[in-house]
């Protein structure tokens, strides 16, 4: 009897130790804040809950960086981290916040659109918790999150997600996916409140352009592209042709399907004034047939299995030994974003948006992402926002 009790005690202690060993890093990841430096162009920092009060005090709330121009003009919204396992979106947005100066018009930037997802992990998928980007002054650390919000913040899931307002049936997991919950509801589940907040921002501030920055697998047909509905397709095509001619990289245009609901490129235009664009840069890390899911693969995008599949013509993007590194992905996103601004400004001169200080594709490929990231430690007090 005594021996039995002793064995049970030892097993219970081992179990607690095991849970602490594995659980504490997950706890720390959830509470790890990422500093974002308010760059020279930032004129205000707001919260999404100002547009969707139901978000106040919840993990769904997030920061909006406002870069108001010297001259009036059009308005644009830039969103990163809609899917927090596609970090090229967040990094593109951070580079704009930390470097951009708006000459004309106003820019609203949300670097961590799905804050809950960025503090979540993806059980079963073996992701790293963080990744470090080498900069001119050292390493800068970022959280690596999940495609969906954390069940700790929005739970339970229904057995099937019924999209508002179209009633299309979607996978139950998509109720926590902020690229399926557009246009959202003020009193819906947390992630619908997030997308509702962004819709309200666009409606109240009269946003002209909304750009949602993502990454997509190399085996996914909708990758390396700009997804646009009918209303934005002309500007998207001009931007695509211009970056190919002037900067030498491909980013083709994909039409937003009318029958697939809940996505930003479909619902933003159908429910608000803005012209939506969704940018996809190829991210090999997310492909299924890859080697170990390491931060190295996340950063350099080099994988021998994908290389072999590329030779068998099973990928939807060109792929060679150089992989698809982070600087290329972020560079593409930034160049396409700037080109969309330029093309829109040409069409609507009274609503022009002019931004300076943001690097383009060639700058990123030459100098790396880290070169354009500020050092939070050397920023004066009040110049850093913890996200």
């Amino acid at each position: 009897m005594r021996k039995d009790a002793f064995l049970k005690t030892v097993l219970a202690a081992a179990f607690v130790a095991f849970v602490l060993w594995g659980g504490l890093p997950l706890f720390r990841h959830r509470h790890h804040d990422v500093p974002i430096v308010k760059g020279p162009g930032v004129t205000a920092v707001r919260r999404l809950s100002e547009y969707s009060p139901g978000l106040k005090g919840t993990p769904g709330d997030t920061f909006i960086y406002v870069l108001q121009g010297r001259e009036p003009g059009g308005k644009a919204l830039l969103m990163g981290d809609t899917h927090s396992n596609e970090p090229e979106g967040m990094l593109s947005a951070i580079i704009v916040v930390e470097n951009g100066i708006v000459e004309k018009g106003t820019l609203y930037v949300i670097p961590v659109f799905n804050n809950s997802g960025s503090r979540n992990t993806r059980p079963g998928d073996g992701y790293p918790l963080y990744f470090d980007v080498a900069t001119d002054w050292g390493q800068r650390r970022f959280r690596f999150g999940n495609r969906d919000a954390s069940p700790l913040d929005q739970w339970p899931d229904p057995d099937v997600y019924i999209h508002y307002p179209e009633r299309q049936l979607l996978s139950y997991i998509d109720i926590r996916n902020t690229n399926r919950t557009w246009p959202g509801r003020a009193n819906g589940p947390l992630m619908e409140k997030v997308t509702f907040g962004a819709m309200e921002l666009m409606r109240r501030e009269k946003i002209d352009l909304a750009i949602d920055v993502h990454g997509a697998e190399t085996m996914f047909p909708v990758t390396n592209c700009i997804v646009a509905p009918e209303s934005s397709v002309k500007i998207a095509t001009l931007a695509s042709l211009t970056v190919k001619a002037k900067e030498g990289f491909e980013s083709h245009v994909e039409r937003s399907p009318v029958g697939f609901r809940g996505l930003s490129h479909r619902e933003i235009g159908d429910h608000g004034p803005a012209l939506p664009f969704l940018l996809e840069a190829p991210i090999p890390f997310l492909d299924q047939p890859t080697g170990p899911k390491t931060t190295k693969l996340l950063l350099d995008g080099k994988d021998p299995f994908l290389l072999s599949l590329s030779k068998k013509k099973k990928l939807f993007v060109p792929y060679d030994e150089s992989g698809w590194p982070l600087e290329k992905r972020v560079g593409q996103n930034l160049s396409v974003t700037l080109e969309i601004f330029r093309q829109f400004s040409k069409k609507a001169a009274d609503r022009a948006i002019a931004v300076s200080g943001v690097p383009r594709y060639a700058d990123l490929v030459k100098n790396g992402v880290g070169h354009f990231l500020a050092d939070p430690a050397k920023t004066p007090a009040g110049g850093v926002v913890m996200n």
């Binding site: 997950l26 079963g124 918790l129 899931d157 997991i173 299924q288």
Partner: protein, 435 residues
């Protein structure tokens, strides 16, 4: 890199084999494979040793939702059973249909199909209606082995049936294909295969097992129709209410819906039920199954972190098309047996992208594949639906014999599924009918 990953895979297999040799349970075997693979991977820092604990703990939560549903659904049905509701239903069903074999079998098939079709989980079908249907089939003279086989195949089909098919939803979500056009594309093959299964396995009477009404279980005094139906009406009412009024009905989730239905069954029971003892016994009974889910999640996480999962996916995608068609009936069910829904993401998503790009009709291919995946729920190491089928039918013979009993419907499901995949473009009219 391939050699490094193959070594890790070999260590995983060796750890599993060693655990089996030491007569450890399936779930401990899977846990050993996960730890072994993680330690082997740590030599190359994929993952680093300091990260191993985090990966194991994180992986253990992969199927937390499914575990909660299994527990709450089983508890609900155990309460219904304990209150005498199951015996009451079996007696009444046989009284109504006992002498009309064909309608009796078809009604029982539909009863199994409905809960799984509504929730996307064959386990829910088995946990909610599996026991009474098994008893009814027994009374119709179907031996327990064939009862378990019927439940396994039909519960699998219920999970694939529209409107909710989790495999198809995972594939649609991962491939950016709208989850529309599946009603006839899945509904017709599911009804055809369900009818085929119940007739092939249930038509022949085994007079030795068949018993007359005299042998039927006695009903608990005070048990009435409304006492049995209200808890089920509470459950299905909550499921259906969300479908009809999705924007004004609170989201309860299946676990809470089963819990509320269980509370209703407890309150309406004509006899007093010792709830805590019942809950403890249910947890004990389900422990091996739940532990398997925890361990499979850990294994899946380690397989991804070490690259083993990617290598398997790579092997499938690299296979020439004709050979792939021959291998799919094996690969798809085994991926489900090993990774449950993970198989759909790892193999299914790249496969759909590939087949779509060479002219196959993606929606029909997804429907075809989602008929194959449920077969894997009878295969080790997880064998979730297979084990549940034997559990609720009371079959205590060899698991291998139970699987053998499913061979003909298994072949029929495979033939229909492969036909749908290979001739997907010719079957595109099913999608058009559904729109």
């Amino acid at each position: 890199m391939t050699t490094q990953i193959l070594v890790i895979l070999a260590v995983m297999i060796a750890a599993y084999a060693a655990a089996k040799a030491a007569k450890l349970s399936v779930e401990l075997g899977i846990f050993a494979a996960a730890v072994g693979g993680g330690l082997a991977g740590a030599f190359l820092k994929t993952p680093a040793i300091g990260e191993l604990g985090r990966h194991l703990v994180e992986g253990s939560t992969t199927y937390l939702d499914v575990i909660l549903v299994f527990f709450t659904a089983t508890l609900f049905m155990t309460i219904v059973n304990e209150s005498g509701g199951v015996d009451y239903v079996v007696r009444a069903t046989l009284r109504a249909f006992g002498k009309m074999r064909l309608p009796a079998l078809l009604v029982l098939m539909i009863i199994v199909l409905v809960p799984g079709a509504l929730t996307g989980a064959g386990s829910v079908s088995l946990l909610v209606v599996g026991a009474p249907v098994a008893l009814a089939l027994g009374r119709l003279g179907v031996p327990k082995k064939r009862v378990a086989a019927i439940l396994f195949i039909v519960a699998g089909l219920s999970a694939a049936a529209p409107p909710v098919n989790i495999w198809a939803m995972i594939l649609c979500a991962g491939t950016a294909i709208p989850y529309v056009g599946f009603e006839f594309t899945l509904g017709i093959p599911v009804l055809f295969l369900g009818t085929f299964t119940i007739l092939v396995l249930g038509w022949k009477k085994d007079t030795g097992t068949m018993s007359g009404n005299a042998d039927l279980p006695l009903t608990t005094p005070g048990m009435t129709w409304w006492r049995v139906t209200i808890p089920f009406a509470v459950f299905f009412g909550m499921v259906v209410a969300y479908r009809i009024w999705p924007f004004s009905t609170p989201i309860f989730g299946l676990s809470l819906e089963f819990t509320v239905a269980g509370a209703a069954a407890l309150l309406l029971s004509p006899k007093r039920i010792a709830f805590l003892t019942l809950a403890r016994d249910t947890a004990k009974r389900l422990l091996p199954l739940l532990a398997t889910m925890v361990a499979v999640g850990m294994l899946q996480q380690i397989m991804t972190a070490t690259g083993v999962r990617g290598l398997l996916s790579f092997a499938v995608i690299s296979t020439p098309l004709v050979l792939l068609f021959f291998l799919l009936p094996i690969i798809i069910p085994f991926s489900e047996g090993l990774l449950t829904y993970g198989g759909a993401a790892i193999i299914g998503i790249p496969l759909i992208w590939f087949l779509d790009s060479i002219g196959f009709h993606a929606t029909v291919v997804i429907a075809g594949l989602s008929l194959l995946w449920p077969l894997g729920d009878g295969l080790p190491p997880t064998a979730l639906i297979g084990r549940l089928s034997t559990m609720v039918s009371g079959y205590e013979g060899s698991y291998k014999d139970f699987l053998k009993a499913t061979w003909l419907p298994w072949l029929a499901v495979t033939a229909v599924a492969m036909g749908m995949i290979i001739f997907s473009s010719k079957l595109a009219f099913l999608v058009r009918w559904s729109m």
